[in-house]
Amino acid sequence: MTDIAAPPQREPFTQRINWVDIGPFIALAVLILAGVIINPDFLSPTNIANVVTRSAFIAIIAVGATFVISSGGLDLSVGSMAAFVTGIMIMFMNAMVPSMGANAIIAGMALVLCVGALCGLFNGLIVTVGKIEPFIVTLGTMGIFRALITFMSDGGNIPIDRSLREPFRPVYYGNFVGIPIPIIVSIVVALIGAFILYKTKFGRRCAAVGANEDVARFSGISVGRIRTMAFVIQGICVAIAAICYVPRLGAATPTTGLLWELQVITAVVIGGTALRGGKGRIWGTIAGAVILEMIANLMVLSNFISEYLVAAVQGVIIIIAMLVQRFSKQP
């Protein structure tokens, strides 16, 4: 009974774990197959590049959401937070242009990261100090951020200064060794996220808090601090996404980031992270984000779906994607 050596033939466990991780990628593969059948152009380099690049926003934010959700929280405010911080960033840069010229972009980036972190901190503190359901808190702050951007833009929109458009453009449209910048950014974010979640004390504690709050407290983990930190990370991710977003649309409007929160959470869940908390799966999340964007892309590329029914088809595909995973999990 005392044979301690971890025998290599412990397949069931290794397998089970791998399967959960692979699930989303299988779904992704299936989707790509479908795509090729529907429209050969689907696999054209430009199209793939476009789709993946686009999914960057959601992917980056969803990495943050993976922290929040695995620590047992939920953040509905990310969409409007994105709009809000984008607005702040643009206004600030426009104000700085006269004095700093193109450097305003650097300053803007620095600022938006701080603002994002603060927004996250705000969410986190209300949740942990006020001891209120994250759902309600972030629903509230969702309204707050949305209103602030509407206010800042007087219900219209906040365009970025002409002189900044060009220098800023590459952040979205540029590429590095052929890979679009946003893709690189999101990969980097995911790498860092994965490192923090899987390889640091904080990450461990995050998962512990999400898995069983009592055990966490009895193990000397300050549950509140961990939860708050998760929200802060979420805020920073939102800010990073905003940085990639600005050059794409060149303006912040009251409708910026509308309903992103749903896409983000969907990406996380499709990625295999349970909404009730516990283990988070960064790479699955990334896959989830790409899946969502690909579905939207297929809707445009396919010609046999009535415009009115697009949303329905998307809904169906999302559910199917989950089923594919479910069953890929039973080997």
Partner: protein, 293 residues
């Protein structure tokens, strides 16, 4: 000869007017595809500015796009992306809202949202004898909404007509109904109501009817929804006029764009659709019974 493709990119049918746009766009597409075998028109709707930019990328990805007819979500956000489509040598037709850089578009079929506001305002100024209290319901915070409110306020300038209140009702008849009920509770005396879209006007009218308030002389909308046109034709006292903002403008634009692939010389420049006052007399010409809008 090889097939010419025209892509039509418009907002998704999230409320009555955009619904009308989608309807007319699809009708135009069907008709043209049927009539001219060498022309292929595809219609794509997008729920948001970001999605519309994505759609543009997708439509151009294949690289064989001859013309683009676009009703931009918002000018600033779409200018850049449309620019890059134009750079690929595609013929650009912009509908309703101009881009921030007019150089980009070959053809511009312009609606005039400012006029929608100001025409209505002028009517009120004339018919309320230059003074009175009005409440306003505005839509979803977007450029359209902003321009209409702007036009309305300009239209009232110089008169003694006072805007008691402006609130968002998101172009949603239910929210308009609630909002109007609350306006009625808040203001003992209201001379006229303006909802900057007919969807909302429907809610407003119900709320007024329920309240049994009699002092309200006018409840006006905008966009030319068929239910409202019907009222105008019937000479309704409370809604005697309407300002059109015909979603059919998309159809016009598509046809004008398609013409060039059919032997005729490409039409360039700007076509401005005015927003004339629809009254009992001219209502018929704005009435499309089979349109959903």
């Amino acid at each position: 000869q090889e097939k010419k493709t025209i892509a039509v990119s418009i907002p998704a049918a999230t409320h009555g007017w955009t619904g009308g746009v989608v309807y007319h766009a699809q009708k135009a597409a069907e008709e043209i595809n049927a009539a001219f075998p060498n022309i292929e028109v595809t219609v794509k709707t997008s729920p948001s500015a970001a999605a519309q930019v994505s759609a543009l990328e997708d439509l151009t990805a294949s690289g064989n796009l001859n013309a683009l007819v676009i009703l931009p979500f918002s000018s600033d956000e779409l200018t850049g992306p449309v620019q890059s489509v134009a750079d690929a040598g595609t013929f650009i037709t912009v509908v309703d809202r101009g881009l921030t850089d007019p150089e980009i578009q070959d053809l511009y079929v312009a609606g005039d949202n400012i006029a929608v506001g100001s025409t209505t305002a002028k009517f009120l100024v004339d018919n309320l004898g230059g003074k009175g209290d009005v409440v306003v319901l505005r839509g979803i915070p977007t450029v359209i909404d902003d321009e209409r409110i702007q036009g309305f306020e300009e239209g009232l300038e110089g008169s003694d007509i006072k805007i008691l209140d402006i609130q968002y009702a998101n172009w949603n008849s239910d929210e308009a109904f609630s909002l109007m009920q609350d306006y009625l509770a808040k203001y003992p005396h209201i001379d006229a109501v303006w909802a900057n879209d007919d969807d909302m006007l429907l809610g407003v009218l119900e709320a007024i009817e329920q309240s049994g308030r009699t002092e309200i002389k006018y409840a006006l909308g905008g966009n030319g929804m068929k239910e409202i046109i019907e009222k105008v034709m019937a000479g309704d006292a409370m809604t005697p006029i309407e300002t059109p903002y015909p979603p059919s403008m998309i159809k016009t634009a598509i046809y004008m764009t398609a013409a060039q692939f059919n032997g005729q010389a490409p039409v360039r420049g700007t076509v401005k659709l005015d927003a004339p006052l629809i009254t009992k007399d001219n209502a018929e010409e704005y009435y499309f019974p089979d349109s959903p809008f």
